[in-house]
Symmetry: C2
Subunit: 82 residues, 2 copies
C-alpha cells in the first residue's frame, strides 16, 4: 500500500532551513513570508488493510521518521483497489 508521510517542524519550533529559504527567496526578489521546510517520505507498506498500514506508519514515525518532540507528521494512504 502506497503511503505518503509529511513531516513538519511544530509551530513555535525554530526552523533554520525555512529561514534560510525565505531569506534567499527574498534576496531573489520574491515576496514571501513564513517559510517552513519539512520532509516528504513516500514508501510502500506491506499491510493487509489501511488501518493496519496506518498503525504501522505511526510506529515508523515515532521510532524513526520523525522527532516527535519537535516535529509533527501527517500520513496519507493511496487507496488502490480493495
Amino acid at each position: 500500500m502506497k503511503a505518503t508521510v509529511l513531516v513538519r517542524p511544530k509551530p513555535g519550533i525554530l526552523d533554520p532551513q525555512g529561514e534560510a529559504v525565505e531569506s534567499s527567496l527574498r534576496h531573489l526578489g520574491f515576496a514571501v513570508s513564513g517559510a517552513r521546510v519539512g520532509r516528504l517520505v513516500e514508501l510502500d507498506v506491506d499491510a493487509p488493510d489501511a488501518d493496519r498500514a496506518r498503525a504501522e506508519l505511526e510506529r515508523m514515525c515515532e521510532q524513526l521518521l520523525t522527532n516527535p518532540l519537535i516535529e509533527s507528521y501527517e500520513i496519507s494512504l493511496a487507496e488502490v483497489g480493495g
Copy 2:
C-alpha cells in the same frame, strides 16, 4: 496566499536518503519497500490571485527550491476566501 511545494527525487534518480530510511525501517522490523525522501516547503506568497501565485512559485522552484535536473515538484495553493 498559503502554498505547499512537494519536492521529490525524479524516478530513476538515486536517492541515498530514501535507501537509508528503507534499510533502517527494515532493520526495525517493518515490511516496507520503495522508500523515497523529498522535501516539503510551506510558505506565504504575496500575490493578487492564484494564477500569479502559482507562476511565482514555479519560478521559485526553478531558481532555488529544486534542482530541476534531478527533482520534480508539485505546487498546491490553499484557497482561502477570495
